[in-house]
Amino acid sequence: MIVVDNVWKEYGDQIVLEKVSLTIEDRAFVALVGPSGCGKTTFLKLLLGEERPTQGTITLDGAPLSPEPGPDRGVVFQRYSVFPHLTVLGNVLLGKEFAASRFRARLVGPARRAAVEEARELIAEVGLAGSETKFPAQLSGGMQQRLALAQALIMQPRVLLLDEPFGALDPGIRAEIHVLMKRLWNETNLTVVMVTHDMREAFTLGTRVIAFERPRNRPDERERYGASLSRDIYIWPPRRAGQLDPDAFADSPDRDDPIHEVGIGRDDPAPSPQGDPA
């Protein structure tokens, strides 16, 4: 459980966030929405530990949040989330290698084989099987974000923070990765906090949608009044992690979307020349 208690964030004279209090229950999927420059990303940085609140406290399961990013909180950014110099497999293995060897940060022998096994499973899970030896620059944008998810999930973080993770993808690919995101959240023990500009995305994925807004937004007031929570909406009927019917989201087009195609999606590797068994 994440408890945010009366948090303020100021940069010099500029107040960005004020009086933010919020409790995020375990395994929730919280979508943060709001206009540009209203402090959503700043709030995510506070949760991540990249920034510290000027006032107020944030606790994770009762303990104060560590003041720098750590392995209990995974993150996927819109860009630059994966390492360009590592292959797909190398990217996913990196977290394991950090944990295993303090000085060399490399795995060898049976420990490496076990980790490779685990990484390959996760890579297959996010739909990148067969691309293990490719470098990120050889992947499409959607595949890079899938890789970023796998890379974060191998650490089994308590909290997954997403900063407009799908904002740069085109709609077809975004719909496919939404299905993946929903499945991952449903099947793993994750609390997800996602910043998004896309209202539809917020309501499609979230269990709860929270809006940030500046109550006073005249140019002469902007400096001294920060944004705060203006709406806190629980999705109805409630979605609960672990209780979603796998079929319900594997093939559930959004209201205005074209009907979901069965079979190979446009973001998937090309079908084999012999044709597809399905």
């Binding site: 750590g70 392995p71 860009r79 630059y80 989330s81 390492f83 360009p84 950090f98 940060a105 620059a137």
Partner: protein
């Protein structure tokens, strides 16, 4: 069609690339012929045949006094100095560039110092180096290092700081400590840039090498050029200059090939 949209074919590209070289050669031959017609003893623009003679004399006939083939012994002497200096500079730049780029405290301590040091004209330090370290190899190598390393450090530190903030944060969320992030995330990404940086410093490195050899040496390409200058031996100087240029061009190309070979991913981003 607009000029900006006209693109040469591959053959034309090759012809165009060769054109300036051929033009230079023709201009030289014409100038040389004109001067020699006026005065057959002219030494300023020797005929191409006398250049070839000089190359033969320097590269393939042993020197009567020492029994060495001068072009090769000069080349080895110069390349030895150049490569040891560049090796030392690269190592220094890698270590300090990463430290300055990664750690805010080290940056606060060292960045202004390196910025100031890189402004010192190295040739102005040459007399001090000769006095303190003697006239041997040490002072020449030190001159190149002083001339090249501070700029490489600053360049590399900037490259480290240009790595997206997101990458560092991501590595932290994967549990990496500062050392692990340095060797697994930052180091592999700056190595290709280090090679590029080294390529750009080849020019200045040669400059300092020739300058040091011109003043005090008993072998080396720069030494030879400044020695035969006394006899107005343009027939030796021209081939030496061309040889030095060739060596520099070759080193430049080889370093780039090395980068693409060792870090294949560093070329992928450019294409897309």
């Amino acid at each position: 069609m607009r000029l900006i949209n006209l693109k040469p074919s591959r053959t034309n590209q090759l012809i165009l690339a060769l054109l300036p070289f051929v033009a230079l050669l023709v201009a030289y031959a014409l100038g040389s012929a004109a001067r020699l017609a006026d005065n057959p003893a002219d030494k300023l623009l020797p005929a191409l045949t006398s250049l070839a003679d000089a190359v033969n004399r320097m590269a393939f006939v042993p020197d009567p006094r020492t029994g060495e083939y001068l072009l090769w012994s000069d080349t080895w002497a110069s390349l030895g100095r150049l490569f040891s200096a560049l090796g030392i500079s690269t190592l220094i730049a890698l270590v300090f560039g990463m430290i300055v780029g990664m750690f805010p405290y080290a940056r606060a301590l060292l960045a202004p110092f390196f910025a100031a040091v890189s402004m010192v004209p190295p040739l102005a330090l040459l007399p001090i180096l000769f006095i303190v370290m003697g006239l041997g190899e040490t002072s020449k190598i030190t001159l190149i290092v002083i001339g090249v390393a501070p700029i490489m450090i600053r360049d590399l530190a900037l490259k480290v700081m240009e790595l997206p903030r997101e990458q560092t944060v991501k590595a932290e969320t994967l549990g990496g400590n500062s050392w692990q992030i340095a060797i697994r995330v930052v180091l592999p990404q700056v190595l290709p840039r280090l090679i590029t940086c080294l390529r750009l410093q080849l020019g200045p490195a040669w400059l300092f090498l020739i300058a040091a050899e011109a003043i005090s040496a008993d072998s080396g390409l720069g030494y030879r050029i400044f020695l035969v200058r006394r006899y107005l031996s343009m027939d030796v100087i021209f081939p030496y200059v061309i040889w030095i240029t060739l060596l520099a061009v070759l080193a430049n190309v080889l370093l780039d090939l090395l980068r693409i070979r060792v870090f294949p991913w560093s070329d992928l981003g450019k294409a897309s």
